[in-house]
Amino acid sequence: MIGYVVQRILLSLLISAVAMVALFAMVRMIPGDPVTLMLGARATPEAIARLNAQMGLDQPVITQIGLWFSRIFSGDLGVDIWSQRPVVDVVLEALPPTLALTLAGIGWAAALGIPLGCYSALRPGTFTDQALSVVSVGAISIPPFVLAIYCLLFFSVRLGWFPVLGAGEDGDLADQIWHLVLPAFAVGLGWVGYLARLVRGSMIEAMGENHVRTARAMGLPPHRIVVTYALRLAIVPTVTMLGISIGGLLSSAVLVENVFSRPGLGTLIADAAQGRNYPVVQGGVLAAVLLFAIAMPISDLVIAWLDPRVRKSL
């Protein structure tokens, strides 16, 4: 088992390295330079030269890549052009709110989506199943930012139940959770529908398996049959899909973070990219890529736990 995990992590790190080199080349290809953007109409030639030198932009791309990679291991990801702060701090500050948002979003979506998927899988074709299908598919299609604004309009402004802006006071967990409810709802709603559809499909298939028939022949109560005999295998494709979709999660988070003015990795990367703040772009994407590199092995391990046959091949 350990061999597999190490191999999996090495592969993920290789993926991250390739992604970062690709990013470096791509970012350099994008026209426009950070200095004119930062100073705008007041960019004097000396200021441009000074900043370019400071960021090492005047060196050939290859050396820049080499320099950047060599510094990673010492934890130095360069300096944020706008605020002169080390990129590591900037990224580490933006990571927790995004993680909280995506995990909360996916968390409640799974908590509601998976049972709904099972429920309609056990009644294929009935009116409830079809009604649930229409509702869950409809939920997928509502763009998160529209949903976010409607949530604000209804829950925050009219009912006053929830705050509108920000991610809450540092250190005050209750306040941060209080600020997390609406954004998590907006990010998660689409996922409820998506997970429900996926689980329904694979559950219908699983319920047809022979070992489920054996379980029913034993007279086991239905919830035991669903959870221990059917769901445990039917959930595997869903776990795989979740592992892969970290990239997608970040982009839906960006939209919601934008509306709720929440700090986050997605917004950080988007703003930095528009401002050609290369160091922060690289740092932010490295975090996103590492997030993905971690998510892949985790989802593989969860699958191995769920399905011992996979474990056998480790």
Partner: protein, 279 residues
């Protein structure tokens, strides 16, 4: 298939609804421009933000343009972004997936590395890079979407091909000297295409909704193109004063999602050999 449409409707109501919705959208997509009561991009500033009325079924937007006409014109764009992109990605992705799954080990790991690398990239970053390099346009958006869909489908096809490669019927075929091409094309493909169809059908609406998100970030289709995403994004600006614009922009996306998903699922139940008999 089914004896008649009514039989289809009775036996598989959701699939039937799906078919109806998809045909409606295809119809609007093909004939939208002629059907539209007004020219979609005709600006009439004095009559801006009018409430829905008989002249303007879905009211007018900030520039006085008739929202209903823009929705109709937008369906052609939605089809292009949704259906064409997903279609191309399924074809290319399936081919890559078959090659990766059936081909030699080293080719498989290289392709897998490429697939995973594109996954790890946040959509926002790639979107911005492409838009800045090639300028915001429908083709850039389609390129961006394909960059994400092709690896997804390739990965799906690869895993089912790997599973099929070991199956007895493939060994039997090989023992009879069938060429790899034949095995892949005629025997493995029908078995692996099922899951791709259902995922692709759920992706069509997801891509249409993604276009709305990208437009919100300024990366989507440039104005004055009447994409549903742009109508939606402009609508959020005046959500209190003119709430009908957001509804008008959001409704077609929801209908498209329902249509493609249910049609996809009923297609899957028919196409996927394994699911033939079962409910």
């Amino acid at each position: 298939m089914f004896a008649s449409l009514s039989d289809f409707a009775r036996r598989d109501p959701l699939g039937f609804i799906g078919l109806m919705l998809v045909t409606m959208i295809l119809f609007a997509g093909l004939f939208g421009n002629w059907l539209a009561p007004y020219a979609p991009s005709k600006i009439d500033v004095p009559s801006r933000l009018l409430a829905p009325s008989w002249e303007h079924l879905m009211g007018t937007d900030k520039l006085g343009r008739d929202v209903f006409s823009r929705i109709l014109a937008g369906s052609a764009l939605a089809l292009q972004i949704g259906v064409v992109t997903v279609g191309l990605s399924v074809v290319i992705g399936t081919v890559l997936g078959l090659i990766a799954g059936y081909g030699p080990r080293w080719l498989d790991s290289i392709l897998l590395l490429i697939f995973d690398t594109t996954y790890s990239f946040p959509t926002v970053i790639l979107g911005l890079a492409l838009v800045t390099l090639f300028g915001p346009s429908t083709t850039t958006l389609m390129g961006l979407v394909m960059l994400f869909l092709i690896p997804a489908y390739a990965r799906l096809v690869r895993s089912s091909t790997l599973a099929a490669k070991g199956a007895d019927y493939v060994l039997a075929l090989r023992s009879m000297g069938a060429s790899s091409g034949r095995i892949l094309g005629i025997h493995i493909l029908p078995n692996v295409i099922g899951p791709v169809i259902i995922v692709a059908c759920m992706d069509v609406p997801a891509i249409i909704a993604l276009e709305a998100g990208l437009t919100y970030l300024g990366l989507g289709v440039p104005p004055p193109a009447p994409s549903w995403g742009r109508i939606l994004e402009e609508g959020t600006g005046s959500i209190r004063e003119a709430p009908w614009i957001v509804v008008a922009g959001g409704l077609p996306i929801i209908l498209a999602t329902l249509g493609f998903t249910f049609l996809g699922e009923s297609l899957r139940d028919r196409l996927d050999p394994k699911r033939k008999g079962r409910a």
